[in-house]
């Protein structure tokens, strides 16, 4: 019995993550059809989800942006592979992307805001495609089912041992509980291993592509810093990156950054970042992405993010977004800072009506009478603005 339990526990928990080499790209067979009852069922379920998701209000139907991201996908994983993917861009401020087992890919606008350049976006898209290519959804489903069975039968065995009683009953129940814990833990460990495999395969795509592989670890560094900034702003303890929790479904960002950096250095492959193309494609969406991010009520995280996007040089739209962020929080010192940001914007672009609006409102909220003048300028520039009547009332 004890041996059987030990074997079961070892099978379920699996070996600890080892530093694995980057795999060779698996052969790709083109239009793949689901095999077996489990996979067919899973695909059918996701086909149904996709059908309703396609017409959802949260999906952005911008043909040119969609085409661009599809192109990035093709540059990353190759034309044959990328053609199987249906892409959905979703208005969601969190950094995320996901892939259904049937080839439905979801990209959040929060990822587009944080990716900064094409290579980083490509790395994440490659990671998601790797889940698809390695059929991770199916394997996870099967693993969870097996682990669920083991946990249930261990429960029955434990209850039986307790009912029978006798000297060994206590130890048998404890053993059954250990098996249950191992079974439950193994489903999360398995998911974390899948994430590691997807990271590795994404590195394999990066190696075969024109992109710089160093882009991938950078993403996780910045995400950790942003999460730290958010936690600090909310006076919370920051996430620990040196260990994974029992229920974690991803490895820690630190582990991913460290592993991927090691692989990128070992690969020693130069590449492009495609920043110019990325900025051009996202130009029409930046203002919307900033506005959505500011409404998350995460001052420090957003300020960090804007600073990272700006780098050494604050562009006009980033300065304006920063002004809006500070004015929204609205502490007296924030309002003073916001006035400074808006002034910088109008100094660079005297036709920026919205900056005059922000400037005027920030000044009015600070009891600075000069705000009325800025708001009058706004109304002169945009007499038909949606809030023209409201602004007129404020300056009366």
């Amino acid at each position: 019995m004890a041996v059987a339990v030990a074997v079961a526990v070892a099978m379920l928990t699996g070996a600890a993550a080892q530093a694995e080499p980057i795999p060779n790209l698996p052969p790709y067979g083109g239009a793949y059809q689901p095999q077996g009852v489990d996979e067919r069922g899973l695909w059918m379920e996701f086909d149904e989800i996709e059908r309703s998701f396609r017409d959802s209000t949260v999906v952005i139907n911008d043909a040119s942006l969609k085409a661009y991201i599809q192109q990035v996908m093709c540059r990353m994983v190759g034309t044959a592979r990328c053609e199987t993917v249906r892409l959905y861009i979703v208005r969601n401020t969190s950094f995320n992307a996901s892939m259904g087992p049937n080839g439905m890919m979801i990209v959040h606008t929060g990822l587009l805001l944080r990716a900064r350049d094409e290579a980083k976006l490509a790395a994440v898209l490659g990671h998601e495609f790797a889940h698809f290519e390695l059929r991770h959804s199916l394997l996870r489903f099967k693993h969870s089912r097996t682990a669920g069975d083991i946990a249930a039968w261990a429960g029955v065995a434990g209850a039986g041992a307790w009912a029978l009683g006798g000297r060994g009953a206590y130890n048998s129940v404890r053993m059954a509980q250990s098996v249950q814990n191992a079974a439950i833990g193994s489903t999360y460990a398995h998911t974390r291993d899948q994430e590691r495999q997807a990271d590795l395969l994404s590195m394999a795509y990066l190696r075969a592509s024109a992109y710089d592989p160093h882009c991938f670890p950078d993403i996780w560094d910045r995400l950790m810093d942003e999460a730290d900034a958010t936690a600090q702003g909310r006076r919370q303890r920051s996430t620990r990156y040196d260990r994974v929790s029992f229920f974690a479904d991803h490895p820690t960002d630190l582990e991913r950054a460290t592993t991927l950096r090691g692989l990128a250095v070992a690969m020693n492959k130069p590449g492009e970042d495609g920043k110019a193309r990325y900025d051009t494609a996202l130009a029409g969406w930046r203002a919307q992405l900033f506005a959505d991010q500011i409404k998350r009520n995460d001052f420090e995280g957003t300020d960090y993010l804007l600073g990272q996007l700006a780098g050494a040089q604050w562009s006009t739209d980033l300065l304006f977004a920063r002004g809006e962020l500070y004015r929204t929080r609205g502490h007296p010192r924030d309002l003073a800072a916001a006035v400074g940001f808006y002034r910088d914007v109008v100094a660079r672009d005297p036709t920026h009506a919205e900056a005059y609006r922000g400037l005027g409102l920030a000044q009015l909220r600070s009891h600075d009478a000069a705000g009325a003048e800025a708001l009058r300028t706004y109304l002169t520039m945009k007499p038909a603005a949606d809030d023209a009547a409201m602004i007129s009332m404020l300056i009366q």
Binding site: R234, R296, G330, D386, I391, M393
Partner: protein, 197 residues
């Protein structure tokens, strides 16, 4: 006998929440709302929901809170959220500040809805000046959809800052049918809103 007593006690304890839940608001009678000095006189019957969205607020509905809902915010104090936090640790709601301008109220409302409902599909459509409770006020219209639900919802709101506290009445309903049918009843409530001096 003992069993009857026990049964009675159980019935009493289970009946309490039911009693405390929805109450009928009769038409044409002034009623104080949201534990505040604000009173309104509805032109039709409403149901007051037992569950309050937050400390200084209450909700009325005709057919159910997802179908037509009027919410009264009766004096939200500085550094308070509009309604109860949904997830204070991961998604804290923005807080009202007494120094806010009237134009900041629609933005506060939008951010609160976006975070509480976890939806990016929320938009303030129009903002206009008005008078509410005898003070300068802002009225605004908004549209939104909840996550995993394709119903387009539409709403109106009117808000004033009086003595550093936020007084607001909002209405929201599905755009199809309910909004058009019930918005007049909401406007009748707003038109009769008064505040005790």
């Amino acid at each position: 006998m003992k069993r009857t007593l026990w049964l009675g006690a159980i019935l009493l304890t289970t009946a309490q929440p039911a009693l405390a839940s929805n109450t009928l608001i009769v038409a044409q009678a002034p009623v104080a709302v949201a534990k505040s000095p604000m009173t309104v006189t509805p032109d039709r019957e409403w149901n007051k929901m037992g569950a309050r969205p937050g400390r200084n607020s209450e909700s009325w509905t005709i057919d159910g809170d997802g179908l037509n809902e009027v919410t009264f915010y009766g004096g939200i104090e500085a550094d308070r959220t509009l309604f109860r936090e949904v997830s204070k640790r991961t998604m804290p709601l923005p807080r009202f500040s007494a120094t806010m301008l009237l134009t900041d109220i629609p933005a506060l409302f939008e951010a609160s809805y976006r975070i509480a409902l976890n939806t990016p599909v929320m938009k303030i459509d129009t903002v206009a000046p008005t008078t509410f409770l005898g003070h300068k006020a802002v009225q605004f219209a908004f549209t939104y959809s909840r996550v995993d639900e394709e119903v387009r919802r539409r709403g109106d709101a009117v808000a004033a800052i009086i003595g550093g506290k936020l007084f607001m009445i909002t209405f929201d309903a599905p755009d199809i049918f309910y909004y058009q049918r019930d918005v007049a009843a909401y406007r009748a409530i707003v038109a009769t809103a008064a505040i005790a001096r």
